[in-house]
């Protein structure tokens, strides 16, 4: 694969991720050498517990790697200040510990955190970004709704709106389609895809919706438990029958022709 150095947005080298405390180390993945290219829509897939969420957190600088480095452009992510990070990387996480008594607009406005002054005053420019983000994510009319009153899909769009409002070139999203029904899943994925189509953002999305990912992603990062990562286009992935090796089992197999999972006849 030819790599254009100039368009490489996020890269990692010899990256080892996992958890360690005094008693033991739980190694999830090691020696990951990744490159995320500008303006691409990349889906991170893999079985439960292989380290997708951990990778997202490490790439976004929320958690330190056990070894190796992550660079945003030329700079190491761990050395960025809070403000620099919030201006360049936006994240949508699975953490649901948010209070419910906060409006959609207030959440989206927090996307401007890296730009506002010490008390969080929004300038006219900030307001423009917020309004644009609300419009792009289809949240018009929801501005004053409380988080508690939203459906899961609307809630997810709100947090994506916050990421869009930050105007950070890199968006890292951890399972934004979890708990959604199929129309909502498609809607969220198309929304993210459209954000990268205009080359405003680069998206790395972890997801369990393989069929959707295969249809929409420019690139698939397939994480194999304990065995590293395969980075290929959806077509290449199908040709090499990787999905069957990773996800197939006694009852289910991946049909490379239709791009869907099928039950094995008993």
């Amino acid at each position: 694969m030819s790599l254009n150095k100039a368009s490489c947005m996020l890269s990692s080298g010899n990256l080892t991720i996992g958890y360690s405390d005094k008693r033991r180390t739980n190694l999830l993945q090691k020696n990951l050498n990744l490159e995320l290219h500008q303006g691409t829509f990349v889906c991170l897939i893999g079985p439960n517990g292989c380290g997708k969420s951990t990778l997202i957190r490490v790439l976004g600088g929320l958690q330190l790697p056990l070894a190796g480095w992550v660079k945003l452009g030329e700079n190491e992510v761990r050395k960025l200040s809070g403000q620099e990070k919030s201006r360049h990387i936006s994240m949508v996480l699975t953490d649901r510990s948010s209070v419910d008594n906060i409006t959609v607009e207030e959440v989206v406005a927090l996307g401007r955190y890296g730009y506002t002054n010490w008390i969080g005053r929004l300038t006219g420019k900030d307001q423009q970004y917020i309004a644009a983000a609300i419009e792009k994510t289809g949240l018009s009319g929801f501005e004053n709704r409380m988080l508690a009153t939203l459906s899961d899909g609307e809630r997810q769009r709100t947090f994506i709106g916050k990421a869009v409002a930050s105007n950070a070139p890199l968006m890292l999203l951890d399972e934004p389609t979890a708990h959604l029904d199929i129309p909502n899943k498609v809607e969220i994925m198309s929304l993210l895809k459209s954000l990268t189509m205009r080359s405003e953002h680069t998206c790395l999305v972890s997801t369990h919706d393989l069929e959707l990912a295969l249809q929409m992603a420019d690139m698939i990062w397939l994480m194999i438990p304990g065995k590293g990562m395969v980075c290929l286009t959806p077509d290449e992935l199908k040709q090499r029958n990787y999905l069957n090796e990773v996800f197939g089992n006694k009852t289910v197999f991946f049909n490379n022709e239709t791009g869907t999972f099928n039950l094995k006849s008993v």
Binding site: G82, D95, V99
Partner: protein
């Protein structure tokens, strides 16, 4: 189809906020005048105002107003604002509607600090330190408060639900109380009595010099809380989300601990524990102003806290009688029903926060 609006909110305009703030300020002004005028000795309103504005009046009345009622008023204002802000910071930090300096044992920690300071020093016969008595008492309370706060924070990282955190707080409070009991057992009767009266809470035990000490801790604490407005708004989304938004959550946590311990510690050192103000005032402010934005909520909480504590203080003076009830009893009598109303009422805890 029109969306089902579960709770109207967030659409309050700046004008409404301004009006509410104005009403609160006027209310505080009226309550302050009432607080000065009412008391066991009847002093006419005209004379009281004359004394405050620096005109001569009957000497006894001057003394009562300037050396007794005015310090009490200043103490009440500082305590109301301070405890309410401490409560707000703790509720946001833990994202827990039941957090507050009294419930989580911060006040008990301060009490333990004071008890150790007053009684232990007496047991080992260190009386020379008494020259710095007030300052030492404040320091002891702040150290006690911050120790309990840090312990709770350590435990809280393993707990997710409100109830467990609450139980931990109550347990820390009981532990601190047990240590105080043991200390009392070995102390002289006059010190024990002094401490028991202290635990009832009183806004009138601080004179001007103590108020000076109190101010030098509470004001920096409140200034820190003002600097925390922006990060606290991000903390509403949860710690991990806040970190991803650009908040240095570890730094912010310790600044909030410092601020809340300075405020709750210094206030508890001189007034004794004052229950429920830190717990209920943030809820009342959220309901009044219908927002969780700390830029509005922080000043709103301060003003609401002042107003509520002034009401409690006026009640505790039992206008027309010569008795003064312990302030801690009055705040609990008002606070407990409010909490019950919040828990049992149709607005659930989860959504009221």
């Amino acid at each position: 189809m029109k969306p089902y609006i579960f709770r109207k909110s967030g659409n309050m305009k700046a004008k409404n906020y301004f009006l509410l703030f104005l009403v609160l300020i006027l209310l505080i002004f009226m309550l302050s005048v009432l607080d000065l005028v009412l008391g066991s000795v009847k002093i006419p309103l005209k004379e009281s105002l004359k004394i405050i504005t620096g005109h001569a009046s009957q000497e006894g009345w001057s003394y009562i107003i300037l050396q007794m009622r005015l310090p009490r008023l200043v103490t009440a204002i500082m305590t109301g604002a301070g405890l309410a802000v401490a409560g707000l910071m703790m509720q946001t930090l833990f994202r827990n509607p039941l957090a507050g300096p009294y419930v989580l044992g911060i006040s008990s920690g301060a009490g333990l600090g004071v008890a150790i300071y007053v009684m232990a020093l007496d047991i080992i016969g260190l009386t020379g330190i008494y020259r710095m008595y007030d300052l030492g008492q404040a320091f002891a309370a702040i150290v006690g408060a911050s120790l309990v706060f840090i312990l709770i924070l350590l435990v809280a990282s393993h707990l997710r639900d409100s109830v467990s955190l609450l139980i931990v707080g109550i347990m820390f409070g009981s532990l601190a109380g047990a240590v105080v009991n043991i200390l009392q057992y070995f102390s002289k009767p006059d010190l024990v009595q002094k401490f028991v009266i202290w635990t009832m809470g009183s806004l009138s035990s601080a004179g001007w010099s103590q108020i000076g000490v109190m101010t030098s801790f509470v004001v920096p604490g409140i200034l820190i809380s003002v600097l925390m407005i922006k990060p606290m708004n991000a903390l509403l989304l949860g710690e991990l989300n806040a970190e991803a938004t650009g908040v240095r959550t570890n730094v912010v946590k310790y600044l909030i601990i410092t601020s809340a311990s300075l405020i709750a510690g210094a206030l508890t050192a001189f007034n004794g524990p004052v229950a429920f103000i830190g717990l209920i005032v943030p809820h009342i402010s959220r309901m009044l102003f219908n927002t969780t934005n700390h830029r509005i909520l922080l000043p709103a909480t301060m003003l609401t806290g002042i107003a509520l504590l002034l009401v409690c203080d006026i009640i505790s003076q039992v206008p027309g009688r010569t008795i003064v009830l312990p302030i801690n009893a009055i705040t609990a009598m008002i606070g407990a029903p409010v909490i019950l109303w919040i828990v049992l009422g149709n607005r659930k805890m989860k959504t009221s926060f």
